[in-house]
Amino acid sequence: MNSREFIASRIAKELKDGDVVNLGIGMPTMVANYIPEDVHIMLQAENGILGVGPKAAQGEERLDCIDAGGNYVTTVKGACFFDSSFSFCIIRGGHVDITVLGALEVDEEGNVANWMIPGKKVPGMGGAMDLVVGAKKVILAMEHVSKDGTPKILKKCKLPLTAVNVVKTIVTDMAVIEVVPGKGLVLKEIAPGLSVEDVQRATEAHLTILPDLKVIEV
């Protein structure tokens, strides 16, 4: 299991039976592969599907059934389609229980930056801003540090924000961290083989350590 699979499978444990869930492009999409069989969730795609199923088999792709990443998907029993206007009523109106997204930076106030690097890359925010503001619970799926080893979990985000005070849970290859209003970042679980010091060293923001710290199980 590589670190992306590790993160996705840990996040899968956050989902409860009956949850409405929106998974972002990339690592978040992989979460769907690790949901236990007895947990039935409804996956939402912001381009207009509730009840996204597995990818379409080769030869069975339908142009009218794509997810927000442009992938050909299937739908589960009980699915439905709608337009973008209604889709974002669902999202912004608080009818999505959990949204899982990637992030470039996150900070101890629960601010998140994940949509642009000034002067370098401006793909646009797509539905990300609506999702993090509207969803009942925002979970970030991210590598703990960037490729060159610099922390991505900061005291204060430097990149242009996606939203302020929205992140609830951060799941990385090293730790599970909760954002607690007024308290900052609370370390809940660490990856097998790591020490609290390892995690704190890779994190710019201060981590509050609870006595019942656990090891991540996937």
């Binding site: 009218d64 973008s84 999202i91 646009g124 797509g126 302020v164």
Partner: protein
């Protein structure tokens, strides 16, 4: 009543210099490729403003349109799939304005619905705020987002009847429905064309009164 059936070439000749154009679709899904292709081949119009969720992908004619130098302004939510739009943004060759996807949908809906604007919490605390009025209600801040309208909308549907009623299936509804309500002249590219009375009134996604021209393709 006069038939709304016409050719792509004839229909897009309605686009005039300086027009604002809405183009339906989400990536390749529900994108009116044949209409945009016809527009690319009429090179008489310039100074266009394009409203599109994502300005499509490199494989679509909208890529050529964006590249043609005929577009002075783009409103979108995501442009990562059309590198030419990103290039125009970086070089400043065109003005590219990015909106959260739900906000874009809501602005277009407001344009079609005769609203003066809507208040959304999405974008608060981010650069999306820039140049916009903020309104506080019950101690929470909202952005005032203004309506968007267009001179011409190019949309895609599965089926049209003679009255212009449209059926759009699956995830292809996306922006096609709201855009049909917010433009002075609406052109629909359809796969199937049937007699009046052959579409169940319960299954109409866009009432015929919004549709000015129908182009049958394929």
């Amino acid at each position: 009543m006069k038939s709304k059936l016409t050719t792509a070439q004839e229909a897009v000749s309605k686009v005039k210099d300086g027009d604002t154009l809405m183009i339906g679709g989400f990536l390749t899904g529900g994108h009116p490729e044949n209409l945009v292709c016809a527009l690319v081949n009429i090179d008489s119009t310039g100074n266009l403003t394009i409203v599109s969720n994502d300005t499509g992908t490199q494989e679509l004619s909208i890529y050529q349109l964006v590249k043609s130098g005929r577009v002075k302004q783009i409103f979108a939510s995501y442009i990562g799939s059309n590198p030419e739009t990103g290039r125009l943004l970086m070089t400043g060759e065109a003005k590219v304005q990015l909106f959260p996807q739900g906000t874009l949908a809501e602005k277009i809906r407001a344009g079609g619905a005769g609203l003066g604007g809507v208040l959304t919490p999405v974008g608060i605390g981010t650069i999306v705020e820039e140049g916009k009025r903020k309104i506080e209600i019950n101690e929470r801040e909202y952005l005032l987002e203004m309506p968007l309208r267009a001179n011409v909308a190019l949309i895609k549907a599965h089926k049209a009847d003679e009255a212009g009623n449209l059926i759009i299936n699956g995830s292809s509804r996306n922006f096609n429905i709201v855009m049909a309500t917010a433009a002075d002249y609406v052109i629909a590219e359809v796969e199937e064309y049937v007699k009046e009375g052959e579409i169940d009134p319960n299954h109409v996604n866009v009432p015929g009164i919004f549709v000015d021209a129908i182009v049958k393709v394929g």
